[in-house]
Symmetry: C2
Subunit: 503 residues, 2 copies
């Protein structure tokens, strides 16, 4: 009986192709969902939060700061692109848990993963991966590399986006000093001073970041984050780390090409100037940048900008860190957003988390910290998340989800373009890649009202920056989901437009 | 067929009492293992790392910095207190993945957890807990509180020990400024300056930490970490954060009472002086301390020391942060180590991770940051880990594992005391609570040799500080496991002692 107990799961779960066949065999091809039993559309029963959510929020408030909670979710009933709340309201989700659910809710491939006893044991026996990895870990890492490495040879797994960026930054500092030090060992003075947080062991080095950037909320990543004051107020920071201007383009791009080129050049000049000035006091060891500034307002920069930035980094011995925490894993129509930029060489470091479930960073050989345990922590990742990522990558490949993202993205973009034309006094600056699309409302009040009314009408969406609506659907968001969303958005904007005219 | 597929698991897994009955019904009570099918003792087949480990390490080195890897582990074969490596060497584990495995390997209660479909769905639909918690989350948090809250009313879940400490520190900063600011809103100058990392928005405030402390390796927690230079070299730090001396007692304690009291008083005076001096330049917002300094060498301080420290914090408006990342969840014989100190009031913040699987911090109402999203990140924890913690707590309660820890701890302590008497020129300074016990070797070379030879003879152990051996067995480590370990240790020390005499 016990063996039944500890081995309750079958050793050979159904192969993924069979699962996916089952998932897509219903209805006609164009409106077939990629997750079975997905609702056919939103269905709203109460205000949000509804009475049950309110009751649960009251209970939770006994032990919790609830300020940011919107409502409680029934994760058993949620399915595919639809999130179901405590009051059985069914909403089309274009925000997917702050852009972290590549396959939406309850995807059969993920439900199937821990039917495999080996996977289950990897999950519950969480190792200290830096010291005692499991015998399956080398193969898992090799497979991961073959499938998704951004042309970089090494990986360091982590637990979340912020600690990935923290350790990417640390890697830049250590690599910078390794280069300066050459073959020499640490001096006794360096060792003793470092223990007490002092020079020369703890050097004056800096990371260059950009206005509007978001790289996390731990203290050091917060020193690289400049999207909103409320994130940063009252927290001490590295005051000498330089901050450059991120290009803020005029839209539509094709009408403002020359002006936007000038914006690029000014920003690049500023970066060069800052690196030069810092050399005298607090040299720049690394430059961290998002391929699309996300929290900061979905700000894009041109491939040429990213190419030239890489040149500047190379020339100055500055590590080029691309933060793909929000953009990675397919939403822009390529697996990594920076693939759109045709960089002549890979970046030095690419960080990831969110949709990937597992977090960490890929890096070059040159920047890899050789000494054991300098880039280290207890867990160094989590095999349970890596196993989920493997299943996700398999579905992305088998169902050609990157193609799907491009098709859905086109439909969504064209629909929003049409709306922007219809309501030029309300919507503007449409931009995006794949389904990673944003559009601005005229003013933050209007933006907030659109998001509020979308929710009332069955769409969970999200904002970014001061007046943007950002679209972060799952990779299984199809053309017909875009149509449902666009219909609701049109009605919401139309209603608000009428209200505006009445005032 | 599909419903079989997506619901492969039974809705009502076996109740925990039945699992535990099955787990303990074999053999006579005193040597019965708390996990079934546990090996009866170590069994070594090869050197470590053995040929299979070496081959896998070579494969892994293609994509990984392998510096800290000891060997590869077969997590399917590992069981209870025994870790099995790639070459089928079976070792008694007194280190348990850097002190993170409360129930050892493949505990039936944990293997059973995700047989529950609701639990499985909570695992694979990982929410942004700060915004869209699941409908079961309030009840889960309430239960957690009832069982383990260190008399503190609020909790903030996180992902790992370092990010728990990062956010505990941030909470102290924000609370300090909230108190200074009173009802006033942020000024425009504060908002604008904070975006650029400048005063007054990003204030000059500090965290007081102790020599020998370890609070993590992210940049800010590293500024509070002073255990080893290699962790800190080349990473910029907050040079103005004060560092006090941690009491370094003479052992045995009963023979050195007066001297150790004086050490306490000197350290406390230094803390008060530092807080006073900092007021003029970079005031102390929080003081962070481990109840037992772990990485730094298992350094203990008296209950009186911790009581007086709390008084100093209260008097100066400094948040008292107890870092229970390594000590929490039972290894000292109480659930939280600071329960041994009889503090008149709870600390302001208690951080946790490791054995708890989930991470985060408990905190007082006064220190709770009210504004939404100031203490925030995408995931804000992980329900999958909380569900594992629930099962762990149930086993701790049902099997009275804290009593077990105290019984085993007594046996282990007495055995080590005996060894210390037998080999006074090799072992000294035995100390500890529960099974959280350390002993020093005379010199780091001897310590390293003991650990190496223990491994050769089938014991996975760990060091800390420069010359300590630390014991971090699972809570299911029983008296007979201690006996097996002590026998092997005696032989190892005896052999090294002979070698020493020969030289």
């Amino acid at each position: 009986m016990l063996s039944k107990l500890v081995k309750p799961v079958c050793r050979n779960p159904l192969p993924i192709e069979n699962i996916l066949k089952l998932a897509t065999c219903r209805g006609n091809a164009s409106v077939a969902n990629l997750v079975p039993e997905e609702p056919s559309g939103p269905s709203m029963k109460t205000d949000i939060p509804g009475p049950k959510s309110k009751q649960l929020m009251k209970q939770l408030s006994n032990v919790y700061n609830l300020g940011s909670t919107q409502y409680l979710v029934n994760y058993e009933k949620s399915s595919g692109n639809y999130i179901v709340d405590a009051d059985d309201n069914i909403m089309l989700d274009t925000y997917t848990q702050i852009s972290t659910m590549p396959l939406g809710y309850n995807h059969p491939a993920l439900l199937n993963v821990f039917n495999d006893e080996h996977n289950l044991k990897s999950l519950i026996n969480r190792p200290a991966l830096g010291v005692y990895p499991g015998i399956d870990w080398p193969q898992r890492m090799e497979n991961l590399f073959k499938q998704v490495s951004p042309k970089l040879p090494k990986i360091t797994p982590m637990m979340c986006g912020a600690c990935s960026n923290e350790n990417a930054i640390k890697t830049s500092f250590i690599a910078y000093r390794m280069r300066e030090r050459g073959d020499k060992d640490f001096t006794e003075v360096e060792k003793k001073s470092s223990i007490m947080n002092q020079l020369p062991g703890c050097p004056e080095l800096s990371i260059l970041s950009f206005r509007g950037a978001f790289h996390g909320r731990t203290v050091a990543t917060l020193s690289c984050t400049h999207s909103m004051a409320i994130h940063k107020l009252d927290v001490p920071s590295f005051a000498h780390w330089p901050i450059a201007t991120f290009p803020m383009y005029k839209y539509p791009l094709e009408e403002n090409r020359r002006e936007n080129e000038e914006i690029d050049n000014k920003c690049l000049e500023e970066v060069e100037d800052l690196i030069e000035v810092q050399k005298k006091t607090c040299p720049v060891a690394g430059l961290i940048i998002e391929p699309i500034q996300s929290e900061g307002g979905d700000n894009h920069a041109s491939p040429e900008f990213f190419q030239k930035l890489q040149k500047i980094c190379k020339k100055n011995g500055v590590a080029y860190i691309i933060d793909e925490v929000q953009t990675g894993c397919g939403p822009t129509g390529k697996f990594w957003c920076h693939e759109h930029f045709n960089l002549p060489n890979p970046p030095d470091i690419v960080t990831f988390s969110k949709k990937m479930q597992m977090a960490g960073f890929f890096h070059s050989d040159e920047i890899t910290v050789k000494h054991p345990s300098r880039i280290f922590n207890t867990w160094m990742g989590d095999p349970g998340k890596t196993i989920l990522l493997e299943a996700i990558l398999e579905v992305i490949k088998t169902q050609n989800l990157l193609d799907q993202v491009n098709r859905t993205g086109k439909r969504l973009f064209e629909g929003l373009e049409q709306l922007q034309k219809e309501f030029p006094d309300m919507l503007h600056s449409l931009r995006g890649r794949g389904t990673f699309i944003a559009i601005n409302a005229k003013g933050s009040e209007l933006r907030d009202n659109i998001i509020k009314n979308l929710k009332k009408n069955g769409v969970q969406s999200g904002g970014c920056g001061t007046e943007s609506i950002r679209h972060r659907p799952a990779l299984i968001f199809k053309e017909h989901h875009a149509d449902i969303y666009l219909d609701i958005l049109r009605n919401v904007v139309k209603d608000l437009s009428k209200g505006k005219k009445r005032n």
